[in-house]
């Protein structure tokens, strides 16, 4: 059992205390009073009990050195995370497992394997933040509570050694105590008296600043942590073609799933000829965007909607989304984020006899849902044998497609006519029309329709207010600790002499002003600054 230390003043101090909580007497042989003043010479509990595994863990996290190292490691990791783009910003449809290596080489692969590509979601980064949180809590408890107790139990009368060893100290002979008390009160000190001794203090609350700001940090980290909890945070992207409806990710509940229809995507540019903007725009090459806007309609399915089934939609409301003007419903907001103009939608062709130029009907192919066969009547028909939405010749020189987006559509058509009942084949793409050379017919290009796409960020955030609250409390703590300081002045009757000592946790200049004022107004000997070897 750890022993309590009873000081000669009668106060019982916890084991490990270096200055008596009540009178300030050094309790060990080699205690330097001034350097112990940071935590009032109180016992940091972590440094006293070292038995179980729990205590050892506790002690580790109680160390400020450990805390600082955690901060350094987190900062370095965050810095490394900016070297290559984060996973969110690499093109969709690519596999990050191969993307980082192919783009950035071996270092890219290591970057990916270590989880730097998704830094805020990687387990070790969250673990580091958790450890930092633990360090903040434990270090604060271990210092804050003993400090609070020491400041609460401090007595008016202090031990001689405590007085003598303060940085500001003086001895006087003939002093009017009431005058000192009055002067200190005029400086807005809180003055207590005991057996002809005085204790004046001011701004004690500033000592809690560090702990208040740590509470703020913990709340902040808790908010950040809650983003990973189900239902608290959604950050997703939704691409919708004009005229189409798509389910909004993250909005599925028991009473239905939200859908969004993109009625129109609008991109407006500034008119360079307009007088108002003329001079501002003359220095700019190209056009300057004025407005990005999506006109949308929100729908909701009935209850028990089965995924994939044709949804029974009920219209909820219409809306317009512009940059910084989101469309809101329930706790969700949709932000204008990106767009794609003129994606190919439908292509038209005519069946043409090469020799005569006569045309035998037109067909329009929906690039998202082409038909197998188009009957043009009178024995004329066209079949689609192959379709490559995003045509490319692969490494075996075979026609194939890069992905499922119709960015470079190409077809293999079979053309049938009464003259050619067995069919003739042709490969047709953009600026390409290849056949065996003996064909009598060809597909001639007859127009294209396009559609715009809009990309919206789907956002739900129940953690923002927690993070804001944490931030505000943090700032209050910082202000409290930085703009105020804890000043103390002791006056002690000592065998005919009057001893005076003063201490502050920061801003010695301000304290010196106070004690100068005090000795000017009274007959107290001016307090002198001790030469501190350790400083």
């Amino acid at each position: 059992m750890m022993q309590k230390i009873t000081c000669e003043c009668g106060h019982s101090n916890p084991y490990g205390t270096s200055l008596c909580q009540a009178c300030g007497k050094p309790l060990k042989q080699d205690v330097e009073v001034l350097s112990s003043m940071r935590y009032e010479g109180s016992a940091r509990r972590s440094q006293t009990y070292k038995q179980t595994f729990v205590d050892k863990t506790w002690n580790f996290f109680s160390s400020v050195k450990v805390g600082v190292w955690l901060i350094v490691i987190i900062l370095v990791a965050a810095a490394i995370g900016t070297i290559f783009p984060q996973e969110t910003f690499i093109p969709p449809n690519v596999d990050p497992a191969t993307h980082y290596e192919s783009e950035y080489g071996t270092f890219g692969l290591i970057y990916y394997l270590l989880g730097f590509h998704n830094l805020y979601g990687s387990w070790w980064f969250i673990l580091l933040l958790g450890m930092l949180g633990l360090s903040i809590i434990i270090a604060s408890l271990d210092r804050g509570i003993p400090l609070y107790k020491a400041l609460k139990t401090q007595r008016v009368t202090r031990h001689d050694q405590f007085m003598k060893n303060q940085r500001l100290f003086s001895k006087s002979n003939d002093v009017e105590l009431d005058e000192i008390k009055y002067t200190l009160e005029s400086l807005r000190y809180k003055v207590r008296e005991e057996n002809g001794n005085l204790f004046a203090e001011k701004g004690r609350f500033s000592r809690w600043g560090a702990y208040v700001n740590h509470v703020g940090l913990i709340i902040f980290l808790t908010g950040a942590m809650l983003r990973f909890f189900p239902g608290m945070y959604v950050d997703d992207i939704l691409w919708v073609r004009e005229g189409e409806k798509a389910s909004i990710p993250g909005t599925s509940t028991e009473d239905g799933q939200y859908y969004l229809e993109n009625n129109d995507f609008i991109l407006e540019m500034y008119d360079k000829e307009e007088k108002k903007f003329n001079s501002a725009l003359s220095s700019v090459d190209g056009e300057v965007a004025k407005n990005y806007q999506s006109n949308v309609t929100l729908y909701k399915t009935k209850e028990n909607h089965t995924i994939g089934a044709e949804p029974e939609l009920v219209k909820v409301k219409n809306g317009e989304i512009r940059v910084n003007e989101p469309f809101k419903f329930d706790s969700f907001a949709l932000y204008q984020t990106d767009f794609k103009l003129n994606e190919f939608y439908k292509m038209s062709f005519e069946l043409e006899e090469k020799a005569t130029g006569n045309k035998f009907g037109k067909l329009t192919v929906d690039l998202h849902d082409p038909k197998k066969e188009y009957d043009l009547g009178d024995g004329y028909k066209v079949k689609i044998e192959e379709y490559f939405p995003n045509f490319v010749l692969n490494d075996q020189n075979q026609p194939s497609t890069v992905n499922n987006l119709p960015d470079n559509p190409a077809f293999v058509f079979s053309m049938y006519s009464p003259k050619t009942p067995d069919g003739e084949k042709a490969f047709v793409g953009i600026q390409k029309n290849i056949d065996s050379g003996e064909n009598q017919f060809k597909m001639s290009f007859a127009g294209i329709e396009t559609k715009d796409l809009t990309a919206l960020t789907v956002r739900k955030d129940h953690t923002l207010w927690i993070i804001a609250l944490g931030g505000i409390i943090f700032m209050i703590g910082v202000t409290q600790g930085l703009y105020w300081n804890y000043r103390r002045i002791w006056i002690k009757q000592n065998a005919g002499e009057v001893w005076a000592a003063a201490h502050t946790n920061k801003n010695w200049y301000g304290l010196k002003k106070d004690v100068e004022f005090l000795s000017d107004k009274t007959n107290l000997t001016p307090l002198e600054e001790k030469e501190t070897a350790s400083k």
């Binding site: 673990l127 958790g130 990973f228 909890f229 599925s252 379709y387 490559f388």
Partner: protein
Amino acid sequence: MLKKNRLWFRSALLAILVVAVGYTIYNSMNEESGTYISKGDTAPNFVLTDLNGKQVELEDYRGKGVFLNFWGTWCKPCEREMPYMQRQYEKYKEQGVEILAVNVSETNVSVKNFADRYRMSFPIPMDKQREVTKAFGIGPIPTTILIDKNGKVVERTSESLSEKKIISFMEKIKP
């Protein structure tokens, strides 16, 4: 403070933090596009029309093991595993394992050609609007999800599968 109390307090505080951070890490690993179906979850039901125009509903396969594969014709690793899947499908169909090869947002023309080339005889549900793909939180393809006879997900992988792997998967979900 009593020694016993101190130990209790410290242990409790450490435990709370370990649980909170552990749960956060657990969630972060399962996080992808909002909803993400992984091991232990009940697979959400879905209905899609397959390549032959038939309605395919996942719930109808309760009592059977379901090898749910997400794929595209343009994806090389998907192409590689198709012949293996077809061969094992023929073996395990009688033993109560069904393959559903959900095609991610492609056209019937492309998929029909592909299916004919590889003589694929299992149902190919066409997820034109990517609704099912989104609901299962599918990122890169191919992704294979193994569902047991009770509708529970027992495995989820995004690797390109060898025939051996497919056999071991089939064994795993055989009812």
